[in-house]
Subunit: 451 residues, 2 copies
């Protein structure tokens, strides 16, 4: 890769929404009608021969405009930056964005503003990987341990993980990495599927999709629970009878319960041998998760898709509150912060099983697990990436699932680039789909008023 004097000239944002609520795809006990959406960002440069950097925050509909406004508020930190300097050290932009003292007041390091930072940083990592002509997992796995440690912000986590410990973990991760890379390229990374288990699906659809999942090679499925105990008992019975005893069934309450409810409900479903209970209560409740874990053994406790940053993950590990750590590629402060979280998990010996689904989350997060396998944890034992078969065709480099495994991406970048025609169709409210939909709605409203 030859050096360039190019600079970032534009941080373009798009409010992209897919009307997924109409099919009850993605319905669970807390989210009855999500419209999977992306606050999408493109970094453009003044050199037409260079790639663009793409990134996004995933949301579920309303508020996607607020998320776009938050990304817009970061523009001043990015415009004018040297492409080479950005790609050589994304961590320095991370520290600038998180360290903007005025914007920091809106978090710090949580919610809308932090997710916006994550979108921008992920776009920088996409650009860096494209410039290096490597898929992101490979860029990370090939990187020097010293450089990777330099990308991590250790503020507020040194009581659990020092830079030296991180360096030691990454150096140990280099041992056998070549062999594991070959294994990854041949076999892929194990996936589990949530497609059968949405709360809005009837038993017939659950039965059919659960059987298809086993046939397709998945060794784990997941069911949404938490709205009604009788329904959950019936659906768990149906699922277990379809998949048999050898397939893991995870259950997911999406934060529906208080601590005592979580314990009682999980234990009530115990006869169906759930593998883990996911998000039993508030993602903010470290001590609550620890109490649940103690009371529902042998069912494992999993959480993370809504955990706001490395500081809360640190405490979940320190308190022994989780058996399974679920990173999300687009909620925390980008690849930089996920590196910190993967390192914390490795230090505590807790397996990472990423949250995915939505729109584009599978595309992103596979890179992080593959890096983790090749160059950090060194194993896929008890590690699976969530898979949901929605909306992949909107991406230029969509995930490829083969025999229940994610195939390692080979195209340069972070697999974040959405197809231009999808952007044109689903931009809200001006894209072709929404313009037609809103016009139709307005005609219906007028007819209703006239009747």
């Amino acid at each position: 890769m030859s050096p360039t004097a190019a600079r970032i000239t534009a941080v373009d944002t798009y409010d992209i929404r897919f009307p997924t609520s109409r099919e009850l795809d993605g319905s669970d006990a807390m989210n009855p009608d999500p419209d999977y959406s992306a606050a999408y960002v493109v970094l453009r440069t003044d050199d037409a021969d260079l790639p663009e950097g793409h990134g996004f925050t995933f949301t579920i509909g309303r508020g996607n405009d607020v998320q776009v406004a938050a990304i817009d508020a970061l523009r001043g930190h990015v415009i004018g930056r040297s492409v080479d300097e950005l790609c050589a050290d994304p961590g320095s932009l991370g520290r600038d964005l998180i360290g903007d003292s005025q914007l920091r007041w809106l978090g710090p390091e949580k919610g809308v503003m932090h997710m916006a930072i994550g979108a921008v940083l992920n776009a920088v990592w996409d650009l860096a990987a494209k410039r290096a002509r490597k898929p992101l997992w490979r860029l990370l796995a090939d990187a020097d341990p010293e450089w990777l440690v330099g990308q991590v912000d250790f503020r507020y986590i040194t009581d659990a993980l020092t830079p030296q410990e991180a360096l030691d973990l990454l150096r140990r991760g280099k041992e056998g990495a070549e062999q594991r890379r070959a294994t990854l390229l041949e076999r892929g990374f194990p996936a589990y599927t949530t497609s059968p288990g949405w709360l809005g699906y009837d038993d017939e659809k659950l039965t059919r999709l659960a059987a298809e999942a086993v046939t397709a090679g998945f060794r784990q499925i997941k069911l949404k629970v938490g709205a009604d105990l009788d329904d959950d008992l019936r659906r768990c019975r149906v699922a277990r009878s379809v998949v048999g005893p050898g397939i893991r069934i995870a259950i997911d309450a999406n934060q529906r319960w208080n601590v005592d409810e979580a314990i009682a409900w999980t234990n009530a479903l115990g006869e169906f041998q759930p593998y883990w209970i996911e998000e039993p209560t508030s993602p903010d409740d470290v001590l609550g998760h620890a109490a649940v874990r103690k009371a529902v053994t042998p069912v494992k406790v999993a959480t993370g898709e809504h955990v706001q940053n490395r500081i809360v993950f640190k405490q979940l590990l320190q308190a022994g509150a989780i058996d399974v750590l679920q990173i999300d590629a687009a909620r925390v402060g980008g690849v930089n912060e996920n590196l910190a979280i993967l390192l914390l998990a490795a230090k505590f010996g807790v397996p990472v099983c990423p949250h995915a689904g939505g729109v584009g989350l599978c595309e992103l997060v596979q890179h992080l697990s593959m890096f983790d396998f090749v160059a950090l944890s060194g194993t896929t034992d008890d590690r699976v990436i969530e898979y949901v078969d929605h909306l992949h065709d909107h991406f230029v480099d969509p995930v490829v699932i083969r025999d229940g495994h994610y195939t390692a991406p080979s195209s340069p970048g972070f697999s974040a680039t959405m197809r231009p025609e999808s952007i044109a169709e689903f931009t809200y409210p001006g894209g072709t789909f929404w313009a037609a939909d809103l016009a139709q709605q307005s005609r219906t409203d007028r007819k209703g008023a006239a009747a």
Copy 2:
């Protein structure tokens, strides 16, 4: 108060910014140049005889527009609501706003979206108190315990506080309330002042302001620390020599440290007998605060101005992580959630010493402490409200400090109403102050380019 058929017809928002950074007012180790700002909201009705409801989120400059966008995103939940129903049960709007499943994804219950919800709910409480022709503290202190408990969202906190326990606390709070109300009206509520201690002030200014604070009747002052240990040692020495041994000196690190630094730095300042160390580390770090507290005794640990919600406060109390709980009136989900937090503090017997300052925070939070004294904790022992002498003249009903005490407000409402001429002057970027300032800046830029 006669019933009305009026409904909410508008949720008007304003991006208001004050150029406080130019005087280094408010400078601390994490916030070198805040421009105190408000994402301000006014609820209007279709009855010109009714009052308006005013509320706001406090920010420190950049990003205030993102906060305004977040309030705008809530509009659909508020427009068309019956004024009487809203005022009779603000908690039901709280549950609707927090329960919007699509917006919830952007938190949940934290950061930009949650602060926006707080601004709207506080505006409803302002409207309710104005309708009842009572200052808010009095509305709360006079209210039936059953009704107050109905305003609280107990989700995720029942493992620490049940509705029945809350009811018992409020019923006990009624005993002697009349006498305490008389005391409050006569004496006010104790304040402490942060005005002497901003990091950007030199020793001469610190000396003068500390002496003035004692003369003005304050029994506690606060110094910002955490940027440079030698400076902190010198400034603590200066302050202690000015105020003598009988005045409490609190120190405030504004989240500057990791856990181990917090312990070492606080102990290094121990010779000056700091009363509390405030925000020693990340506001998300419950276990970190617990570790700091254990290691810095007898210095007390205080935090809360950046604590995102009742769930984190619950854990700070459960873990024995704090000696002093610092609520903020405009960060969590409004009066409703602060009721939950005051109840948790009362249950655990931890004194509440609110964060204030900024713009309008003193005006708001005094009401919550006064309610706490009259009808919940029943004492002002070891309880003080922060006071900073900035920007009060922009409010219609500014705080009145007398002999180091907040005087109880008597005007109906939540003291949130900003003067119309201040809004016209400091709206960003179109208000008269900013329009002139930006024009001046543009002239300077042109001259610089021509030179």
